[in-house]
Symmetry: C2
Subunit: 432 residues, 2 copies
């Protein structure tokens, strides 16, 4: 194992819900993070507008809050910007980069309008600038685009990158309700803001499309270059018509590389129900890629929320920290733990079992009892058609999860039960 070096100094700019979740995780998961980085991550300050306001959910001690972000960023090895908006975020990030800090940001508005300035500054100074959380929240998408697919050619990026509008359109599709009613409900549930303009007019997706097109095609695309239409014109009748022809309406960000150049657009789009994007429900995000070598790829997950966004921010932070230490040849695999490996007998799972039983009153209860006796509960039971020729019937059961050994023993026991003619099939079940 590598010797653990001295702590890396982390500055946090902004302490809203995402900032609080990041700060909380830096404390709660400090030991694991230090092992993965090769050095402890020390939070040296949190820049906020009002340092006297308590933020207990962040777990940050009051003396770490400061209103002097300018000075804070010059003292840090790593700066995490979660303030949002263009200024002062841009100036602070540039200042941090100038001082040689690796920077992490989730600021799609800034990146969409002025990404190239930041990219160039980080590149010039030889420091990390990463922004996984700016598009599709928790989904590892930008790093795969920048790194994993660096030897391939991306031809198309097509994604659901706004959870609010997907929630609304999905709900309209499922219930047949009108947009205004579903929007009101989304606002009540907290899925949509009181002022939903940025989401429903497509502006949020527009900035993300600019970032995606830039990374995917290695070229400069700004938010204003992206054609943008929102969902306010989508009617219940449109959704119904789409359904009739086997389609569903999604707000998509679509970026294409053509022989003539690139195009990027956001608009409500009909997609066939057989398309992988059609089965993205609720507020989930998903991005579909088409590349020259890999072909079709899709990434799916939560696009927003404090903890999912914190996952993306922390992943960037750990990578930037690793690069500070060892030149980024990758995670230290030799820091592996030696966790115990459980045998299959101790693994918890559900079983699907098909039995041939005597078709007599009371059999079903007696079979159920042999599970109950082992403390295994039955999720569902289904009796097949009676076959009068041999007086047997099939019985299918799905159990609730239990230790594999207990399930296996119960099934073995069933073979000895008089009512049970045969155990025809035993398969495990997951994802219930």
């Amino acid at each position: 194992m590598h010797p653990v070096t001295q702590p890396l100094k982390v500055a946090l700019l902004g302490c809203g819900v995402v900032g609080s979740a990041v700060a909380r995780q830096l404390t709660d998961d400090a030991e694991d993070l230090a092992a993965r980085v090769g050095a402890p991550l020390e939070l040296i300050g949190v820049a906020v507008r009002d340092a006297s306001q308590p933020r207990p959910e962040s777990g940050v001690t009051p003396d770490l809050f400061t209103t002097d972000a300018d000075s804070l960023v010059t003292r840090a090895d790593l700066v995490v910007e979660l303030m949002g908006g263009e200024e002062p975020a841009r100036s602070l990030l540039l200042r941090a980069i100038e001082h040689g800090a690796g920077v992490v940001t989730a600021n799609k508005a800034l990146l969409g309008t002025d990404g190239p300035t930041l990219y160039a500054a980080a590149d010039e100074r030889g420091v990390d600038l990463s922004f996984e959380a700016s598009v599709a929240g928790a989904i590892p998408l930008l790093r795969p685009l920048r790194e994993s697919l660096a030897g391939d050619d991306v031809q198309r990026v097509m994604g659901i990158v706004n959870g609010t509008t997907n929630f609304i359109l999905d709900k309209m599709d499922r219930t047949g309700a009108a947009l205004a009613d579903v929007l009101a409900e989304a606002q009540q549930l907290g899925y949509a803001e009181a002022d939903p303009t940025a989401d429903v007019e497509g502006y949020d997706a527009q900035a993300k499309a600019a970032i995606l097109a830039s990374l995917a095609f290695h070229t400069r695309v700004a938010t204003g270059d992206v054609h943008c239409e929102g969902i306010m014109g989508v009617t219940a009748e449109d959704i119904k018509d789409a359904r009739k022809i086997g389609m569903v309406i999604k707000l998509l960000a679509i970026c294409d590389r053509t022989p003539d150049g690139v195009s990027a657009r956001v608009h409500p789009t009909l997609v066939p129900r057989s398309h992988p994007l059609a089965s993205v429900h609720d507020a989930f995000n998903a991005v579909f890629l088409d590349t020259a070598l890999a072909g079709e790829l899709m990434f799916y997950g939560r696009g927003a929320g404090a903890r999912p966004t914190a996952s993306a921010v922390l992943g960037d932070l750990v990578q930037a920290a690793r690069h500070r230490i060892d030149g980024g040849h990758g995670p230290r695999e030799s820091a592996y733990a030696e966790l115990p490996i459980l045998p299959i007998a101790r693994t918890h799972t559900s079983y699907f079992i098909r039995l041939e039983v005597r078709d007599e009153p009371g059999v079903l209860a007696r079979v159920a009892n042999s599970f109950g006796a082992q403390g295994i509960s039955i999720e569902s039971m289904r009796q097949g058609v009676r076959r009068s020729a041999d007086g047997l019937a099939t019985l299918q059961l799905v159990t609730h999860p239990a230790a594999d050994a207990a399930l296996a023993a119960t099934v073995e026991g069933l073979r000895e039960v008089d009512d049970v003619h045969d155990v025809r099939s035993v398969l495990r079940v997951e994802g219930l």
Copy 2:
């Protein structure tokens, strides 16, 4: 833009279908790769068993083939191992690492049995060891696990990581056929090997599960630690029964982190049809993750094939090359091109249009003609219910892709047509 440094020397071990695709791409895409790396990648040799055998599909000049892999690896900055099997792959990789080369491999058998030896050697020497292609082929999965999710805690990995068995089970589900018949067909189509043991007995998935569990849980799991059951016992009746209760059978690799340790297993598994893994068809792969912060994530794509695998290998190679040059602070965004950005008018797409038309003979033909006159062809047309009250009927059309400007102009033109009472809805369509 960074000054381009001197070429990085690349050695290729093995020149089968994947090796040939990698070599071909190194030549065909040399300029783009050099721009993304910051230095040209120069192929200095390809180690093969028989150097006299021509391999025209690789595009490699005959003088680069050698049988002396031992010497080749000591002369390279970057070594790509695509021989497979445990020896001599292990010795050659260790030798390359010892000489300070960054190494890329797709060798799941070797990593599954002896990954930790290789990880430790690379870590000790401070060089890259990457192996994205070893699990789920083209899908960027291992890099996200090692890097993007480095600040999160993965609790479960559940995936379809063998395309052959997914093809077989999917076909059984769709057609009701027996396994033996579908297997025979898969062999004829080239989806299954003449000796399908490694796939159908689950051994291929078993090695991949070991790699996934190791990376996901930062611990050591070897192939032999993974409980493994293949698909040979799955019957058409099982599939039919699963269908009746809203489930589908998939061969899954499942790795769990529990308070007591970790478990890893491969077996046929019933999953609800509503689960994202249920809609993975044909020979596609997909891996579903459950993490503490990000929640549910899924990665989907092609798990095998020469070009998809080459995509993963080349992504690793570009990253390793970047790390050789600049300590890996990330891709150089300032190397961005300035590609033209096409306006929406020049973007190609399909339209869905709903019209209210006079319900008279010949109207449908006249509407179709106005598209034809603009060179736009109609994919489908559907006439709604006649509303006798006002003598109008609705007409829905989906066009084939055309330039957005031409479509918009045609729709505008329709508004002037006497037969057309109203253009009720115009939406774009993708994914047809």
